[in-house]
Symmetry: C2
Subunit: 458 residues, 2 copies
């Protein structure tokens, strides 16, 4: 796969949507991410939109406005697929259709476009919108691609063998839970679960005391493959529609007790939060960087290796995670940053994940979601989870207002953000994935009584 | 939850569908399992049917025949939901609607029913039908509920710690892959994957050499729960629509290398085969048995315990797995039995699995599928996988025609069957879940070349 720049990436482009030209916007005309939205509080159907500056272009209205009447067949098929309430139909058309629609939208939104008179009525300000999941997700897989995270977490769970022998060979992943994936703004109760401390004989039942976030990149599959027909590494990236932010909330105490031998289960399936906007892989072309791996590490097996992976398999996306406690919210502080990292640190590329996933014969479908795994960087302050940032809960983080955190407390909001920037190109952003933890439910039959009964046995 | 017998369980009932009264049929009038079918080779829409003897009652045609015209509102809502191409709409109506429809169908199919003149045209012989998945599956979770299987497999993977400390406390489970679930008759290529033998430094890439089946019971969720609202143990069974057979095909050599620390991934996600018929939990009421656990084992934590679990939480369902090799097929042998087991050996009940799954806050949706995990019994010949039956591949099984097997070979068909029987009640069967393994794909880019290259490095 060759990553080609085209006119949509030109930094000189400006839009007739003025806010798209503002310094620091996540959504300049070079970005054009897709989401699914409606007017907040309305009972309208959800519909597909493209973020542009502080606005959303409603693609159903844009189509109805007649501005695609002269489009070629591929573009027409793409915009017609956007009359749906999810991105799946557009995804299924394949990467040429995605590129055609991107080019058409870029031209329609430029300050030179005569279409602006027809399209102004198709805009909705983002602060008047609400979002839902942009695609129907058939399966969600979470990977574990940060060697820094794997090593740091491994030290806490298995001090004797932090990095397992398979790590540098196999893109480690597991299947996650689709039903509890929500879009930014998700609120959920603190999960309950069994936990067992080393000094006790038996587990107890109750709310997790070690609730954590995981700063991840979501990889959204655009076109799938048939069962038994693996996707080659050179074809893998053409199957990816785009990237989003993903918070893989984790109950560390539940995880530690339940995860052997089949992996995390209740520790992860209570909630997963994604950002509403999918930044297309096409928009990310300028920020491609070589896939780098220490000389002393083994080369990927041939099915995961290719010249294009080596030359441009990784993507330079800055990541950051912030916290807004209930007190910060009450006092009208903005959120405070906990860590920064970068997707380029990933030990496996997005394309390698697609190829590995299908290599045994497994079929992917359009709309499937892959999580990158926590994207911790090489430095301690680049850790993508509290487990790492607090050294397993031993070193509290002191916030600017004097509050301390080892793990997430009730009322805390966690915000993930990301952006790509490069000299000579625009800065494009991902928006944010925001989620808030509520107090645990206190149903006597499943919580306090059970916990008390279990405690009384020990 | 109290398990009540009603008139639909009466062993004296006979049907006007003569084959339903034949000795040994899986589908007497006391069963009435649901599936989704159409005439084989046709391009008709798939539709919902009920198995009765050697026939299928087409519920769309039955409705159109007017035999439900005098039904009460609940029954009418249920039969109207059966005009869909999946069972999800019926499921969403809840257990009272399922019971109402079961009663109505039982009465319509009895030999005394005047409706038979209208319903004969709604029958299709099963040997003229083809099937598809009976429901849209949002998420698939596989559990690990046989302590005999867990111990036997544990010995092979971790000789030092076969049964992990959490096993008797936590119903161990993990999320599986939905996209590759197929209905009986599924054929799939032998999966490829990385494997590493202990005597090698590095892994190799190629077709799995240790391909196995897993004899499981599938638990089909009928009604789900909202995120953050756990299902109590007393409510859990009312959420289950029914049971089916499930073969969790497994590549043992891939599994051994990849499964740490996040569980099985490519080793399991290439195919999963279910039977076409869902035997309702209502049909299984007569075969309820007490949930038994050795006195020396800990009692389940309170959130997983209740008097009704103890008195009747388990279900006495006989299970069997058979093999039909390519040669047996060519020589027109029937399949040969490899093992028998019973679902009552499960260390956790179906209701406990539902409650545990939701206990942390995770939401289930109608149509979700839970696998019981391999149902090995206490005796060596009751093992539900070849891994166990051949002691990890060391002791070949000799078939009646002289062929030997340690793991599954290309062209082998594996057949799962199940039935419940009890003195004073009918014998009801599950039909079968049949799957055939084809030769691995030999795409140079992902298989032989890669394997050769990897081998040349060692």
């Amino acid at each position: 796969m060759i990553y080609r720049l085209n006119e949509t990436h030109d930094v000189r482009l400006r839009s007739w949507v003025e806010s798209a030209n503002a310094h620091g916007t996540d959504f300049p005309i070079q970005n054009l991410p897709y989401g699914v939205f409606r007017r907040r509080g309305s009972i309208e159907d959800f519909r597909i939109g493209v973020a542009i500056g502080a606005q959303i272009l409603d693609l159903r209205k844009a189509y109805a406005a007649g501005v695609f009447d002269d489009a070629d067949n591929l573009t027409l098929a793409a915009i017609e697929a956007c009359r749906s309430a999810t991105l799946n139909a557009l995804m299924a058309l394949g990467s040429e259709a995605w590129q055609a629609l991107r080019l058409a939208l870029s031209r329609l939104l430029r300050d030179t476009s005569p279409a602006q008179v027809h399209l102004r009525q198709a805009l909705l300000p983002q602060d008047e919108a609400e979002y839902t999941l942009p695609m129907t997700i058939g399966d969600y897989t979470d990977f574990y691609t940060s060697i820094h995270h794997a090593t740091a977490v491994g030290k806490l769970f298995r001090p004797d063998a932090p990095l397992l022998p398979n790590y540098k060979w196999v893109p480690i992943g597991y299947h996650g839970r689709v039903s509890s994936i929500g879009v930014s703004g998700q609120q959920f109760r603190r999960p309950l679960g069994q936990t067992k401390s080393p000094e006790r004989e038996t587990p107890v039942w109750g709310p997790s005391k070690r609730l954590d976030f995981e700063l991840e990149v979501g990889i959204v599959i655009g076109t799938g493959n048939a069962l038994g027909e693996p996707v080659s590494i050179d074809d893998a990236e053409s199957r990816i529609f785009g990237l989003c932010l993903l918070n893989d909330w984790s109950a560390r105490d539940v995880q530690a007790w339940e995860y052997q031998p089949l992996g995390p289960f209740l520790a992860k399936n209570f909630a997963t939060t994604v950002s509403p906007w999918i930044v297309t892989l096409d928009a990310l072309t300028p920020y491609r960087v070589p896939f780098e791996r220490p000389e002393s590490d083994p080369a990927p097996l041939p099915y995961l290796d290719s010249p294009s992976v080596r030359s441009a398999g990784s993507i330079d996306v800055d990541l950051e995670v912030l916290i807004e406690t209930a007190r910060m919210q009450a006092e009208n502080h903005g959120p405070e940053r906990l860590a920064r990292s970068n997707f380029r640190h990933s030990y496996w590329t997005a394309g390698q994940l697609v190829t590995h996933h299908t290599a045994g014969g497994c079929n992917l479908r359009e709309g499937d979601l892959l999580g990158s795994g926590t994207q911790s960087g090489p430095q301690p302050n680049e850790a993508g989870s509290l487990l790492e940032l607090t050294s397993g809960g031993r070193k509290p983080i002191v916030l600017a207002n004097g509050e301390q955190r080892v793990f997430i407390e009730d009322g805390d909001t966690i915000v993930l953000r990301a952006w790509a920037e490069k000299a000579g190109f625009a800065r494009i952003g991902f928006g944010e994935a925001r989620g808030t933890v509520l107090a645990a439910t206190h149903d006597a039959s499943t919580s306090s009584t059970a916990s008390a009964a279990a405690e009384s046995k020990t």
